[in-house]
Amino acid sequence: MRIKGWKQILSFTYLQTLKSKAFKTGTIVICVLIALVCAAINVLPAVFSGGDGGIFGDDGEQTEAQNISTLYVYTENELDFQLSPIKNTAFENITKEQLETKLNEITSGDKAEMLLTVTGGGDKNYSLNFYRPENEEILSRYTAEEFSYEVTDNFTKALYLSIGVSEEDLPLAMADVNSNVTVYGGESEIQMVVGQLLPMVVSIIFYMFIMLYSQQIAQSIATEKSSRVIELLITSCRPLAIIVGKIAGTLLVCITQTAIFGAVGTAAFLLTAPFGVMNVVNSGVVDEITGIAGEAAANTDVMGEISTSVPGLFDPLAIFAIIITVILGFLFFALLAGLVGAGVSRLEDLASSLQPLILLAVAGFMLSYIPPAVNFEGDMDAVITFSYFFPISSPFALPSAILMGKIDGLQTLLAIVFLAAMVFLAALLTAKVYEVIILYTGKPLKLTQMIKMAKKSN
């Protein structure tokens, strides 16, 4: 059997790579980065929103704004209602004549005081303007803004109560109403953002993995050649068994490393969830944050949008298709990298010999990366579709397309078949060429020279 011994090569490649310092160091460093990023996703929004309960405590008490001693209030027209007081802050009404003097005092003063002017009313919109001291050491912009949000909230509540809204109906009356203009059957804003970001992220990740491990295979084969270990190996097994075992071993390393990264990321996310955004979501503070930011996304069903945007995420068949695509893509580039490694006799020649392969991969990656990023008007649709079926780019483009449901089942199958056919051709080429060139020493071989040598040997 031409590949007898491949399992031993696989096992040796796998275990030795896992034992290597480079693998250990690289994995640890990346794991730490992943853990930090995943923890940051949870913790940072919560930290910036003021910790548990957000900027306001669960009981609605003022927290950050406690050090504002007085709020001077000037109303252009008399209000039909009273502003409800805020703990630790005195409300003091001022007249039009006092306004300018007070404004100057507050602006250049050394007390944590603020001034509110209320304009409008009647048939006009109300407008609330808050003024704070210039010196941020006395009163920070952040604290002043936090305080203004609460006063505005109280103002709105008082306004609703004054026009006859009952206390029970108040939450309903004050609920945010979000609007979104879209085309029926078209993409929402979140879908559009996901549609542009996901292909980029997915193609970058797969590009990095595929190229990293393909180059590792090339380097490993070149090392075996340059250290002459290959001569010892091929007395016990055929060259084809060596490359098959090596590719399978490296694929297993890739899967192991991905699993480690995934596990670390998930663990970091879950462990920090009680301190982070998940808790904030539960407490309903996201509404406040988004409201404060003036964004109208508080009631948006983000997860629902994501599941609509990324339907493949919840489809086992789609996940299976993605795994097959990535494995085929890895095999395609790994086989070519194996040939490159076999074509060089010295490690110093490897980098220059790998350049054409890297350029090929970069071209495929760009084809999957750039068109979705600039496809605002849909004029890149044809190029994007082409990238799904072109075997050089499909390993990078297809996974995100499947995830986002941009390609139907039949097209997916067709794209995978194209890619599999290319892998088959690459395997045939490798099988023919590898055995002939593996003991070659001299200048690095070009692909045409390899093929010529293989033909001649037959």
Binding site: G5, F12, E224, S227, R228, E231, L232, S236, A241, S457
Partner: protein, 300 residues
């Protein structure tokens, strides 16, 4: 058991590396492959071991086409090779597993060979941490693991100090005694003379001499006369038509045409009162045969 190499040839482009090489090792023992640098020895070994495809000819092991990956073959390559960054013991287990040896058996054999070759203390080191000589010992152990019936040693003693060369020789002797088929390539003629029964001498890919070393020597006869004396005897040698081969501090070596020439020469020396310190009639050495045959081949 037998190994038959039948008319194998190999060309690299226009360059003929091996041209119609044939020999047979019909019984266990040591077979030598000799040749100058670039004579085609390593290419021949690679073809025998199936690493390189043959342009013509065949290699038969027990009458069947040789399939080294399926046979138990031990190979010590001329260009020593180990994974520089990997632990020696892991590499040995790996090489053993490729030969189909299970771990407990591999462990026993590794323990034996590492002890025998005096490299036990290096088993947990990386190859790059070992000296060249010790790497060579690890390679020999890797070649011997699995107790192969066919052992191919390409320049096994090159680069070794005398102590380790002696150790290698004793191991090779032990393996020869185990009725193994051993092919050895070397530039060191004294080693080949010490170990080998049969040989092939190659030059520029062609076979210039092959057969049993003792038979070749017997066939050539005692054609070398080594003489050493205190007085000058060169005129007498010229009178007897002795052809000067070389003049060394160890004596003067002449080529003799027949058995009468040395007798007449000795009589004349004694008649002139010249007492030889050394007067030795001997068969050609392998070194002499080698230089002669390679020289003839180059002239052609």
């Amino acid at each position: 058991m037998s190994l038959e190499v039948k008319h194998i040839s190999k060309k690299f482009g226009e360059y003929t590396a091996v041209d119609d090489l044939s020999f047979e090792i019909a019984k266990p023992g040591m077979f030598a492959l000799l040749g100058t640098n670039g004579a085609g020895k390593t290419t021949s070994i690679r073809m025998i071991l199936g690493m390189l495809s043959k342009d013509t000819g065949e290699v038969l092991w027990n009458g069947e086409p040789m399939k080294p990956a399926q046979e138990n073959v031990g190979y010590l390559a001329e260009d020593r090779g180990l994974y520089p960054k990997y632990n020696i013991l892991d590499q040995m287990y790996f090489f053993a597993s490729l030969k189909g040896i299970k771990k407990p058996e591999a462990k026993a054999q590794i323990d034996y060979w590492f002890g025998r070759l005096g490299i036990d203390e290096y088993r947990l080191k990386n190859a790059e941490q070992l000296s060249k000589g010790n790497q060579q010992k690890v390679q020999l152990a890797a070649a011997l693991i699995g107790d192969p019936k066919l052992l191919v040693l390409d320049e096994p003693l090159s680069g070794l100090d005398p102590v380790n060369a002696d150790l290698f020789k004793s191991v090779i002797r032990e393996e020869t005694a185990k009725e193994k088929f051993i092919i050895m390539s070397s530039h060191q003629m004294n080693i080949i003379e010490e170990f080998c029964d049969d040989l092939v001498i190659m030059n520029r890919g062609k076979t210039v001499l092959s057969g049993n070393l003792n038979a070749i020597k017997r066939q050539r006869g005692r054609e070398n006369l080594l003489v050493k004396a205190e007085a000058d005897f060169m005129d007498l040698a010229a009178e007897c038509d002795l052809q000067l081969k070389e003049n060394t501090p160890n004596g003067v070596c002449f080529h003799v045409e027949n058995e009468e020439q040395p007798k007449i020469f000795l009589q004349k020396m004694l008649a002139k009162g010249i007492s030889p310190i050394k007067f030795e009639l001997r068969e050609p050495t392998l070194n002499e045969l080698f230089i002669e045959k390679v020289g003839e081949s180059n002239e052609n």
